[in-house]
């Protein structure tokens, strides 16, 4: 019993158990509706994790994440439909395109600090939305892009063929990319690079005084963050098979922001937990229709007032309080 507890408290074993359980989901869950919800949770988790990198760890309130999600999604769809590229090359190329756009936007906006950066990026998000709506020859305008094909099946050894036209195939693909994202994020956060991100977050003056190029550090964090959000945009495009300008709008930004803030800014697991809670909440509140956004706003305000560190941050400080009392 004791060894079992010890094993469970080990991060890695716990992680492996969670991975195994998630892998069982498509086998156990037969409801198409719930599979759909789970796939969306996986896709949006990737977006939330990537926002947390620039916002939570580097301290730059990027309010253009929906725009970058949209650029990744549109780029993937257009590369597949207009250039007949396969999903995987389109995924990578879209991420590169999004990164280049991110780099070009980051150069002027990251020079500014605090709320100015937030305003600058929000403006860019609005521009992306308008471009998606008005650049009809490229994006199809308000009608959107339709008929985006699912990724073609891949053959694994032993005659196993993974099809992505099925819900379970899409589930595993999204889960795989989520794990890749988590792995990359874990490695970054626990490295000298991640330490530089957090140093910039705490004090730009001190950080530049110890020889770290803060501008370069912010650019690296920003570009990595939009590279990853592009991956989730690609997944969304091929999963839903249809894109309209709304997917590149600032509404998306605020939804992802809510995932991160509710779950716990600057924590590894927080954004995923926030995504799960808000998505499930959103499904339950479908009857509210447009008033859902009001509910989101209310939740956001309450979290910022009562739990500024989000759920994970709240749990962590609770643990510290208990530990301090036991001492």
């Amino acid at each position: 019993m004791n060894t079992l507890l010890k094993l469970l408290s080990n991060r890695w074993t716990l992680g492996l158990i969670v991975i195994a359980l998630v892998c069982l989901v498509p086998i156990v869950i037969t409801s198409k509706y719930w599979m759909h919800v789970f796939i969306l949770i996986l896709i949006w988790s990737i977006a939330a994790l990537s926002l947390n990198l620039i916002m939570g760890y580097t301290g730059q309130a990027n309010l253009a994440h929906g725009g970058f999600f949209g650029i990744g999604a549109y780029a993937t769809a257009l590369l597949m439909l207009k250039l007949n590229l396969g999903f995987w090359p389109a995924l990578l190329l879209a991420a590169l395109i999004t990164s280049v756009v991110g780099f070009l936007i980051g150069l002027p906006t990251l020079r500014t600090k605090g709320s100015y950066f937030a305003i600058g990026t929000l403006c860019f998000n609005v521009i992306v939305f308008i471009a998606a709506e008005r650049w009809e020859s490229l994006t199809g305008g308000a009608r959107g892009v339709i008929g985006i094909p699912p990724p073609s099946p891949i053959s694994l050894p032993f005659g196993i063929v993974v099809k992505f036209s099925t819900l379970s195939g899409m589930f595993y693909l999204s889960f795989f990319l989520l794990l890749v994202t988590l792995f990359i994020k874990y490695r970054i956060v626990h490295s000298l690079v991640g330490r530089s991100f957090m140093a910039v977050r705490e004090s730009e003056d001190l950080t530049s005084s110890i020889g770290i190029d803060t501008m370069k550090t912010k650019i690296i964090s920003f570009v990595t963050s939009v590279f990853i959000v592009s991956l989730s945009g690609s997944l969304y495009a091929v999963y839903i098979g249809f894109l309209d300008p709304e997917i590149a709008s600032h509404h998306v930004t605020f939804e992802v922001l809510l995932f991160v803030v509710l779950g716990g800014i600057g924590t590894i697991a927080g954004p995923i937990i926030g995504t799960i809670i808000v998505t499930l909440l959103g499904e339950m509140l479908h009857f509210l229709e447009a008033f859902r956004l009001v509910a989101y706003g209310l939740v956001l305000v309450l979290v910022i007032i009562f739990m500024p560190q989000g759920l994970m941050g709240g749990i962590r400080s609770l643990q510290q309080k208990i530990a301090a009392r036991d001492m």
């Binding site: 000298l192 330490r195 950080t207 005084s209 110890i210």
Partner: protein, 253 residues
């Protein structure tokens, strides 16, 4: 090793630093003193690239470093502390010192993601430097504590530790004794002397005259951004201009 030539900084109509020239020689402990608002901190900000001078040059080891970015100047070997003790409060003591040595390593984000042997080597180098520095500043036993739990005096020492973990040749200390009790000043002064004995040239801004007199081999006095006296501590203390600047014209000795 450092030469400041006709340095001026104007903020609007205010001449914070006015045609200031001085030299720091290798091995010096040079104190810059002067009444509040006499431009001392601005001089540090000009040397380290936080402000761009209106006029004048800063030469370091014979090289013109005027107008370079702060991180470039830090890499050239000039470290500084800030007047308001500035450390990474959310990080541990060791974490503060690890990041301070980051500038002497150069693996990037791909090295971090793939955890290349180069990156592991860099991490090891930073950790070793951090542990050695924690020991040097007398915080080895507290190296795993969050910096926010340190006392004011310990935070001062950590701020100095962060600066020396960058391996500077010239260290600029902005009021290292500010906000510490008289009893705590002794160990801090000993630390500064110890750093100097390791071959680091030191330039400090200080208000506590006892400290200035006992620690420095040379003193520069600023008033309204101008240099009004320079020399050995005991001579400067007797200077008529200095007494006037500090106490007003009525206090002629």
């Amino acid at each position: 090793m450092l030469e400041v030539k006709n340095l001026s900084k104007h903020f609007g109509g205010l001449r914070a630093v006015d045609e200031l020239s001085f030299k720091v020689e290798k091995g010096d402990i040079l104190s810059i003193i002067g009444p509040n608002g006499s431009g001392k901190s601005t001089v540090f900000n000009l040397i380290t690239g936080f402000h761009e001078p209106t006029e004048g040059r800063v030469l370091y080891l014979g090289e013109d470093i005027t107008g370079l970015k702060p991180h470039v100047i830090a890499r050239k070997g000039i470290a500084r502390t800030f007047q308001h003790t500035t450390i990474y409060l959310q990080n541990t003591v060791q974490g503060n010192l690890i990041i301070a040595h980051r500038l002497r390593t150069n693996t990037g984000i791909l090295g971090a993601i793939f955890r290349t042997s180069r990156h592991r080597q860099d991490e090891k180098q930073c950790l070793e430097k951090a542990e050695a520095t924690a020991d040097f500043i007398g915080l080895y036993s507290k190296r795993l504590l969050p910096a926010s739990l340190l006392s004011q005096e310990e935070q001062k020492r950590l701020a100095i530790g962060i600066a020396i973990a960058t391996e500077p040749q010239l260290l600029l200390l902005d009021e290292p004794m500010g906000g510490v009790t008289d009893k705590e000043m002794g160990p801090l002064m000993a630390l500064i002397k110890k750093i100097n004995e390791q071959g680091v040239t030191i330039c400090l801004i200080e208000h506590k005259m006892g400290v200035v007199m006992s620690i420095s081999n040379r003193v520069i006095v600023l008033n309204y951004g101008r240099k009004i006296a320079e020399g050995l501590p005991e001579n400067v203390a007797k200077s008529k201009d200095v007494i006037e600047a500090y106490l007003g014209e009525d206090y002629h000795a």
